[in-house]
């Protein structure tokens, strides 16, 4: 038995990928006459039939506006929406369901905290700590609030492997430090940040921490109580759920101190033209009719992934990433960007003499979908002195055979450009 097939056998023991793949209708697609090999999961992952069916059930049997009327459908929709909130609560191991706010996604969640917390509590001379690894969505909202309040951003550097320098981070704290916003897993490099340790350091200085979990929740078991983070945000569509929905976890005491981000219906207790009394959390942050069906469908996605088990998903993907890393290491002319010791299933790389955009187009001819570009993380690109990278990002439904196909396709690109 070859090393490759031994490895494949042990991988199948971790996860029955062949069976799971049948849940994803899109994986049967042919692109340019070739079977689709979808390796752009860090941008958005695919949806299994069970999750799609939840949407159909909601639309067929349960839809009405929530929190309003007393009729059957409104009560059903409200109950299902609130049940989805509890699913998110359990998924993140949050202490209370009122600490879960539905948002339109990670970006919306970060903006909510930047405005709801930052605009209330930041002032001139204050400092906000971010890291080099941040996605633009965890930079720009803080920049906007900082500009308005006269605050400044401080940035935690990374080493050449793409790992955050915790000692440098420690030195950034001073009496002006008011907030830390950091990613859990880098979307561009795959680095898993030592968030628990970094949160503890921030708390020694009495500084709250927001963790951007967009890339973490599909790949790791996240426990906000164990991390002791103050805020945690993620998106549904990277979790085999729909777009337009995500969630924010925030400690109740902090959410209660924050000002609402958006005003409107559903977030009030009473309104006169003189004064509005806001609803308690989480309603205070959910103005207007929310994406009800999307929230319920996200709940189904959480059920689907939880049934497989995030620990098993993580174990499988780690093996797959190791295999892919080995294979790419063996190819001359391939440079991996982001070689942190702790990584999630993201492989960013540069091919000597070939621009990533060309790599992406040519791989597409072979049915292989990867992302090329700056991955909305231009500071990471600047740090590694590349304009862009090619990025293959895996989900639990990717296989070793697909990694082999990626490698073969890259070989053909190199030959064309030789």
């Amino acid at each position: 038995m070859s090393a490759r097939s031994q490895r494949a056998t042990s991988l199948e023991a971790v996860l029955d990928t062949a069976r799971l793949r049948r849940d994803f209708p899109i994986l049967d697609l042919k692109v340019n006459g070739k079977p689709l090999i979808f390796m752009d999961n860090a941008a958005s992952s695919q949806m299994p039939r069970q999750v799609m069916e939840r949407w159909v059930k909601y639309r067929s049997e349960q839809h009405a506006n929530i929190h309003r009327a007393v009729h059957y459908l409104s009560e059903t929709a409200t109950a299902e929406y609130e049940a989805a909130r509890r699913k998110v609560q359990v998924f993140l191991n949050a202490p209370e369901d009122r600490e879960i706010v539905f948002t339109s996604g990670t970006t919306d969640g970060i903006n909510l905290v930047a405005h709801g917390y930052g605009r209330r509590f930041f002032g001139p001379g204050d400092e906000i700590i971010l890291t080099t690894l941040e996605h633009h969505s965890n930079i720009v909202p803080w920049q906007m609030v900082a500009a308005e309040k006269g605050a400044t951003l401080r940035v935690v550097p990374v080493n050449d492997r793409g790992e955050l320098l915790v000692d440098e981070y420690r030195k950034l704290f001073n009496a002006h430090t008011k907030f830390v916003a950091m990613t859990h897993v880098s979307n561009a490099l795959g680095t898993i940040a030592p968030v628990k340790e970094m949160i503890a350091i921030a708390h020694e200085h009495g500084v709250p921490v927001l963790v951007d979990g967009a890339q973490a929740v599909p790949h790791l078991k996240v426990d906000v109580r164990e991390l002791d983070c103050d805020f945690y945000v993620f998106s549904g569509h990277k979790l085999c759920g729909p777009t337009g929905i995500g969630a924010l976890y925030g400690k109740a005491a902090l959410l209660e101190k924050m000002q609402p981000f958006k005003g409107g219906g559903d977030m009030i207790l009473s309104v006169t033209f003189e004064k509005t009394t806001y609803a308690p959390i989480p309603a205070k942050f959910e103005a207007g009719t929310p994406p009800i069906g999307e929230a319920i469908t996200l709940g189904a996605a959480i059920d689907y992934l939880s049934a497989i088990g995030l620990e098993r998903i993580a174990a499988y993907e780690t093996d797959l990433l190791d295999y892919a890393t080995d294979q790419l290491h063996r190819m001359p002319g391939v440079r991996l960007i982001g070689t942190a010791e702790k990584k999630a299933a993201v492989l960013s790389f540069a091919l000597d003499g070939v621009h990533p955009h060309d790599v992406g187009s040519l791989l597409n001819d072979d049915g292989v979908a990867i992302r090329t570009g700056h991955h909305c993380a231009q500071p990471v690109m600047q740090r590694f002195k590349v304009p862009a990278t090619s990025r293959a990002s895996f989900a639990f439904y990717n296989t070793m055979a697909e990694v082999d196909a990626l490698v073969a396709s890259l070989g053909r690109v190199q030959k064309l450009f030789a």
């Binding site: 621009h355 060309d358 040519l362 862009a388 064309l416 450009f417």
Partner: protein
């Protein structure tokens, strides 16, 4: 969907590897910068006009093969042309790559018809057009051209 391999022809690959007129002019009379923010193509273009004629042209940048080859072939073809002729080629190139000009019909693009295939690859049209936008910006005296 068109196979993009049809686009990566010998001529484009060769111009990508050995771009003509690489390097900026020290005595440029016109220059501009072109950016494709979505994919990161970024080129600098410099021209020296003698009267109304493009006497010299040079470019530099970080770009994909389609963009770099387009820039290389563009600089080769506009050298010695009048500004009006070059601007007409900008228009024709745009029209060809967006499917409004038949590469088999009358035009002044010569071998640049090798780029006609990008009209079937919407994500790559901007790569091919960027140098031409940048040329137009340089003539017009605007500093930057963007595909967005």
């Amino acid at each position: 969907m068109t196979d993009s391999r049809q686009l990566y022809q010998e001529m484009i690959l060769e111009h990508n590897k050995k771009p003509r007129n690489w390097g900026l002019l020290a005595d440029a009379t016109h220059k501009a910068e072109g950016v494709n923010p979505l994919c990161g193509d970024h080129i600098h273009l410099s021209l020296r006009l003698a009267g109304d004629t493009v006497e010299a042209v040079g470019f530099e940048g970080e770009a994909c093969a389609i963009c770099k080859a387009s820039a290389s072939m563009m600089t080769a073809i506009v050298k010695g042309k009048t500004r009006a002729d070059a601007e007409q080629m900008v228009q024709e190139f745009r029209d060809m790559t967006t499917g409004k000009l038949d590469p088999a019909g009358p035009h002044h693009l010569g071998r640049l018809t090798v780029f006609a295939g990008v009209r079937d690859l919407p994500t790559r049209v901007k790569c091919a057009i960027l140098p031409w936008h940048t040329l137009h910006a340089a003539f017009a005296g605007t500093d930057t051209a963007s595909t967005e």
